[in-house]
Symmetry: C2
Subunit: 216 residues, 2 copies
């Protein structure tokens, strides 16, 4: 059977936690990492526009610089992989057209046939939002990719720590994102928990189901 079982899903979502201390000696298997990169690539986004890039930082010196821009949190250097999830800035009709071009390539349809989709996308994204609202909207999409990444990693038995405690301006400078038209939004450290991480054994804290889920 290709699908996961209910038990697998819930067990792995209960197993995961925001890992505070990674095992710096344990690396993610390349086939597993390739799978997580593919999972990221497959993340859903509004209108399928994928207004993002995922920056995988391997260089230890760059990691040290990022750590200094992240309140010195050890996950930044200790985790096997570090992903900076970045959003496209200054989104224009060109970004819509890049997506339509890709649809045309993948599905073998002429771009001209996508005119109704173009009109709808430009109307919603470009004309329908001012610059500030467009940035807010695009950054929200990045959190879909984050949610997908965290769940995907958990399903594979790989630990992760989502992190907002960093200086986006410093990250953008260190990684040269601004000249690429990108801005860092959120970070995920990915690897394996240290046996020393005292948070690993604590019961997960969630509000009761009947408080969080309302039924109408």
């Amino acid at each position: 059977m290709k699908t996961a079982t209910r038990e697998q899903l819930i067990d792995q979502l209960n197993w995961r936690y925001a890992t505070k201390q990674f095992d710096a000696d344990r690396q993610i298997d390349p086939a597993d990492w390739s799978t997580l990169e593919e999972a990221l690539q497959l993340s859903p986004s509004s209108l399928g526009l994928q207004l993002w890039k995922f920056v995988v930082v391997e260089d230890p010196e760059v990691r040290e610089q990022l750590k200094a821009a992240s309140w010195g949190q050890s996950q930044i250097t200790d985790a096997s992989k570090l992903v900076v999830l970045a959003v496209k800035k200054n989104i224009t009709e060109k970004d819509i057209d890049a997506h339509l071009q890709r649809i045309s390539e993948v599905r073998g349809v002429p771009v001209e046939a996508l005119a109704p989709l173009r009109e709808m996308s430009v109307g919603s994204v470009i004309l329908g939002k001012d610059d500030a609202a467009r940035d807010v909207w695009a950054s929200r999409q990045v959190y879909i990719a984050l949610g997908n990444l965290l769940t995907s990693a958990a399903l594979l038995g790989i630990d992760a720590c989502p992190m907002e405690g960093f200086s986006p301006a410093d990250y953008d400078r260190i990684l040269g994102l601004e000249e690429k038209g990108l801005g860092s939004v959120v970070v995920a450290a990915i690897g394996y928990r240290s046996s020393q991480d005292k948070y690993a054994g604590l019961p997960k804290v969630r509000f009761p189901k009947e408080e969080v889920l309302l039924h109408v």
Copy 2:
């Protein structure tokens, strides 16, 4: 083995798509739905604060009203389940304290022992953000839950359609969210694809891995 395989994960992420036409006659098995509700409940969030509620709309009349506030999109009424993901508005120190109280209950520690966490959380969420930035930040978290929900459903072989094309103000009014201190952010229709949905068979469109994933 409890974890999913790499193939399961990628196959199911490739299998999923934003379902345009649901099979209105096919309902989600109650055990599957209970699992997805639990997956939602287990969604990660910044500092674990869970500043959200998930509104499951079953009432067909309410669904009809929501459909009228969603450009008439058929998913709103045809999908087996409809979830409105809502964020807490006007977040205050009381919301931090509700979380600390829950930690205290679940982990059996006195609230007083959580004073350092309280200081950190209040500093980050209340003092460190103005009202507008706090709303933006809280709404982003809801998209983690959305990403988790979409991936979880795909893993179970259940279809979903994430939807932003609706009037949040109308949704808030119809569902009585404002008086609960909530605001609708994004919607997920969940069920099974119709055999008539022409989008089901189209190749998935994603930018190439080497364009989306940068390595430093």
